[in-house]
């Protein structure tokens, strides 16, 4: 019973962290609200922003990056350096006409992201496997206990 109360308290603490972080950081420079910028774009012109989005167009001399409902023509990366579907982070100044004058950017292809997830699954398996080699579930107590000899 005491264990359940502790678990409930920890879940409430986790919820408090999720809400507290949202209250403190959503819409700030660190976590800009792309949808909010799009809703009142002209008011944000001149601001420097850091946007994480996806390349939705890369042709004829321009690249469009989309985050939520916000679509921006970015001055960098160049169309030859990206493909539609790439994930990008761009940092720069918002200009009139839904444009971003890029200061710095980084591109990650879907293939690179797939590889990252694949090796991450190996990492999870390594952590879980090494844990279960030394610990087992005691079904009487519903808790992990050391295996015999540990």
């Amino acid at each position: 019973m005491r264990r359940l109360v502790i678990l409930l308290g920890l879940c409430l603490a986790a919820a408090a962290l999720v809400v507290g972080f949202g209250v403190q950081f959503n819409g700030t420079d660190a976590y800009p609200d792309a949808e909010g910028i799009d809703a009142d774009y002209d008011a944000h012109v001149g601001e420097t922003v850091h946007i994480w989005g996806e390349v939705t167009a890369a042709e004829k001399g321009y690249v469009v990056v989309t985050a939520d409902t916000l679509s921006l023509r970015v001055s960098d990366p160049a169309p030859d350096d990206v493909a539609v579907g790439d994930q990008v982070q761009v940092y720069g100044r918002l200009a009139p006409g839904q444009r971003l004058v890029t200061t710095a950017s980084d591109v990650q292809s879907p293939e690179a992201l797939r590889n990252m997830y694949a090796v991450s699954i190996v990492g999870i398996a390594l952590a879980a496997g090494s844990f279960l080699r030394r610990w087992r579930v005691d079904t009487d107590r519903w808790a992990f206990v050391p295996r015999e000899g540990e």
């Binding site: 999720v18 949202g22 959503n26 710095a104 952590a127 080699r133 030394r134």
Partner: protein, 161 residues
Amino acid sequence: MPDLLTHVLIAYVFGAAAVWWADTPDRYLPVVLVGAAAPDAMKATVLLGVTTGTAFGVPYSFWGLHTLGGVAVLSGIGAVTLAASERRTGFWLLACGGVSHLVLDLFVLRVDGVAPPYLFPVSGWLPPAANLYTSTDLWTIPVALALALAVLVMRRRAAAG
């Protein structure tokens, strides 16, 4: 983040040092590895596209779990799953793994040069990003593997006397 394999391998290095320093049984070393993977549990919300937003008028962000406070809470939840006699040590070693995760994430490339507020809720400070690798740079794996193997060999030699 770098990939989770890099996180787990580096956590093995930190965990071996922690287990040696605290003079705890070897069974706690894999607990550190689990702790190192825990902060990325919130990445499930990234895949589902619900990481940040507003619900019932209240703003929320699951990035709040990818912080020092998140490490403390997730380590607590993990510790509760252990037998009562193992919880205290288990908590600290889960937290050790979680902190190693946040430390590695400080080196991830951020084009604005600023890392997230990993000390939340203790502080909202945005530390400078070291910009050493991106989350998809796989060169971190052989480096982490070499370090982990070196530690593994040292531990085997020490155990053999």
